[in-house]
């Protein structure tokens, strides 16, 4: 993102405030769910699902990934593939 008109930036500021509210609500929600003492597998699924939504909001709006150039998506896609391999690697013996 670069070179914006004033109106464009003001429109974005409104989005930032909404994202901020959403992040706050999701934080309270994830802490609230943790007090329900759900079975571990369900608790992990719920907590990671909420964290994924929160991180997507930060990446999409604060880091401007909703309207970014192809080369950045390419770099991130490559890093993400290796990241998934790293996360799956410790549990390969379980599969």
């Amino acid at each position: 993102m670069s070179a914006h008109s004033q109106e464009e930036v003001q429109r974005q500021v409104k989005i930032y405030i909404r994202v901020f509210l959403a992040l706050g609500i999701l934080t309270v929600l994830t802490v609230g769910v943790s007090y329900l003492k759900l079975p571990l597998s369900i608790a992990i699924a719920v907590a990671l699902f909420i964290a994924a939504i929160k991180s997507s909001l930060v990446a999409a709006f604060f880091m401007h990934l909703v309207s970014e150039k192809k080369i950045i998506y390419a770099i991130l896609a490559l890093a993400f593939c290796f990241f998934i391999v790293l996360l799956l690697y410790p549990s390969w013996h379980l599969m």
């Binding site: 670069s2 500021v13 907590a47 930060v58 150039k69 950045i72």
Partner: protein, 195 residues
Amino acid sequence: MIRYISKPHPITGIINSKLGVWCFLASEIMLFGGLFSAYILLRTGVTDWPRGHELLNVPLATLNTIILITSSVTMVMSWASLEMKNLSKYRLFMTLTILLGFAFLVVKSFEYGHKFEHHHFPSTNNFYAIYFTLTGLHGLHVIGGIVVNLYFLLFGIKMWDKEPKQFAGRIEAAGLYWHFVDLVWIFLFPVLYLL
């Protein structure tokens, strides 16, 4: 001299500083990814892994989550203020971002102090080992971000008069890093404290 730092490169369509920061963040994904991988290995390797809330202070960590999320908003607002040519607002939001970064570290040091008082160290067990490693590395990133932001508040701001576009690009790049640090915490918080 680095070229294309105030106008987009004709091939990539973005300024080089942003490309550089994204490459750096990709390497950071691998750094933290390796440690998350270690966490999964340690946790799945034993039958009795403690639930985070039994050992750690969830209310304090929730407070820190809110602090870091708020600092992300003030960081993006400091960049938006530059885009709106409002330097005094930039100063305000950048100062708030730095103060919130310090607040995060103060809360974290209370948590660490409490653990040390009860003789819980990284060497105590695997849970504390990975807890201190992950939160310690994250804390170092917060300190690094504060140093960069302080530079852009006190000294780097001189660039605004001569090269406003380049300066706004620098703040956007610093913001990308700061949001990444926030993003890592968004995962650390549930993984270490809630699960």
